[in-house]
Amino acid sequence: MAATPRRIALTVVLLSGLALLSFVAGRVLRPQTETPPFPTGEIRIAVDASYPPFAVVQDAELAGFEIDLGSAIGARLGLPVRFVNISYDGLYDALISGQVDVVISQLLVNPLRMGDVRYTRAYFDAGLVLISSSATPIGSISQIPGKRLALEFGSAADAEARLWTRRVRPFEMRPYELTEYALDAVRLGEADAALTDAISARLYLRAHSEWNTHLAYVTQAPFAAAVALERASTWKAIENAISALMEDGTLDHLLSRWL
């Protein structure tokens, strides 16, 4: 069929109409422009300030590693930071209801929460660690049989070690009243290794910097920041800031101030 001038004109008109319709529909149906990452002009950070040395109230002021981390994120993004002290029970609700932009409060990544929130990369691992003398290092559960393992009675380490008794050949469990005593036991030769959480271990080793030790993680408990799922730009800003703070060594520097 030959293309007549009239047919060509009709086609042009139709295509123009379609283009116009498409443009209008696009304007109407296009998702609204994404909310800015921090619509209030500040970063509202929820913390549960009852966890030294991560966040705690000192002389009516918030202090701790996570307070420093939040402040560093604000500095990185060029925005003021406002911390909101909320007990753990209300942290996720505060995030989901939009009262805060981000939670930085020793949150473990929880798959059941992922319908509502998105986590950043982990900024600290609070898992259980084996501490032994660097002269006789013990780096894993496979080296435990036949050894003396010190731990705090009734602690998470105690529970983990009780599980080990069913998984590996016999070893001697040496329970103490305090984690510090369990670590003392290794330092003073009463035990070959201590099993404890990474935070307790780091705090103890800060106070005994002369002791050369070997530290090996045996479980993981990664702490991450959380942002409401629909706040993609907020998550990206926080994630990028934490990554940058890791890469330039700021995170390690802040950690060393507190742990």
Partner: protein
């Protein structure tokens, strides 16, 4: 295709069955011993049963369990009782009494951008109807119902400022209908959070002030018993109470208010208590202290608090770890590993001899 689907379905492991046992009885020398459970969030029925078996073996006669309105009546007038039925069936089978706590508002009864705790006043009649349906269904099994949790906290109202008069209006909405549904029901009010938050705080209101104002608003006519939450935090159970201190014996201050208003005719149930042994939380103690304090508290209730109908420890077990301090209130891990605190409470409740020294002496420098 259907045949293939059927063949694949054969590969799915069969669910663990949880057949009822012969009727069980709790053996205990401390019948006021009780524990708060979290069975409503348990997926597997056998885990509900296993939890209740362990509660019975520990020597606890009673559990407090949460039955959320938002779970059971997810759609208006459409009820899903299946999980609640399992809990009641196995509790009854183990010989354990259930104190039910009701709360959490379904989406259809509150504005769209609110949390499960947001409770608009115009939803009170709907909640009352749910409470009546609950009390009617379980009339043969449950005689104790707690209305809401910690209503003196803003969080528990979906971040609305706590208001004692509003809570009393809720009690008023449910009280008579519940009694018509089950004449034997004991309506428990309070369950207030121990807190020192002052007037005007966005977070909550001091529990002593809140209780006083409940009575001032006419609460006495709309509840039968007071539920008390009392935690020791970092203090031993013997530590003296004071209005500006949060400790175990704060319960005595709440009881004093009850006595002022009704000459102690109102029964009191300790529905939450205990110590926490998180290694970092500022309100926690060491695991060894937790055991000692908990046993001392049990003795204290037995010797000093004859007005306490129950003494419930928070909390028996979570289906999944929270990853935070709540895990350190538990007596049993999600994997059913018994913590030393479980064994200690069990020995006390059952009248068994203690195991002797549980830890070694500190190493000498």
């Amino acid at each position: 295709m259907m045949v293939l689907g059927w063949c694949l379905s054969l590969l799915v492991p069969a669910a663990h069955r949880a057949p009822l046992q012969p009727q069980q009885t709790v053996l205990t020398e401390q019948p006021h011993t009780c524990v708060h459970t979290n069975l409503i969030d348990e997926v597997d029925e056998w885990k509900i049963q296993r939890s209740l078996q362990l509660v019975r073996e520990m020597g606890a006669t009673t559990i407090v369990e949460f039955f959320p309105w938002a779970y059971i009546e997810r759609t208006e007038d459409v009820y899903d009782w299946s999980q609640a039925d399992k809990i009641i069936r196995h509790s009854t089978n183990q010989g354990i009494r259930v104190i039910a706590r009701l709360g959490l508002v379904p989406g259809w009864a509150r504005p769209g951008d609110t949390t499960l705790n947001y409770f608009p006043e115009d939803a009170f009649p709907d909640f009352a109807q749910f409470a009546v349906d609950f009390a009617t269904r379980y009339r043969d099994s449950i005689d104790h119902i707690i209305i809401l949790n910690e209503p003196n906290l803003a969080f528990e109202w979906g971040f609305q400022t706590p208001n004692p008069a509003r809570y009393v209006r809720l009690l008023q909405a449910v009280y008579q209908p519940l009694h018509r549904a089950n004449p034997d029901v004991v309506v428990l009010a309070g369950a207030l959070a121990p807190t020192l938050e002052p007037d005007g705080s966005p977070n909550g209101l001091d529990d002593l002030i809140f209780l006083e104002r409940m009575y001032a608003a006419g609460a006495a006519d709309y509840f039968d018993a007071l539920a008390i939450h009392t935690y020791g935090f970092t203090e031993p159970p013997q530590a003296a109470p004071a209005p500006d201190v949060l400790n175990f014996r704060r319960a005595e201050l709440l009881y004093e208010i009850v006595r002022q208003y009704d000459n102690a005719a109102t029964p009191v149930y300790i529905t939450e208590s205990g110590w926490n042994d998180d290694p970092r939380w500022t309100k926690a103690v060491r695991p060894s202290q937790r055991i000692a304090y908990t046993l001392d508290a049990l003795r204290w209730v037995e010797d000093e608090w004859d007005w306490a109908e129950t003494f419930c420890l928070w909390i028996f077990r979570y289906p999944r770890p929270t990853g935070r301090y709540p895990d350190y209130f538990t007596l049993v891990t999600p994997e059913f590993q018994l913590k030393p605190i479980y064994s200690a409470v069990q020995a006390y409740a059952r009248g068994w001899e203690s195991e002797g020294a549980l830890w070694l002496p500190p190493p000498a420098e």
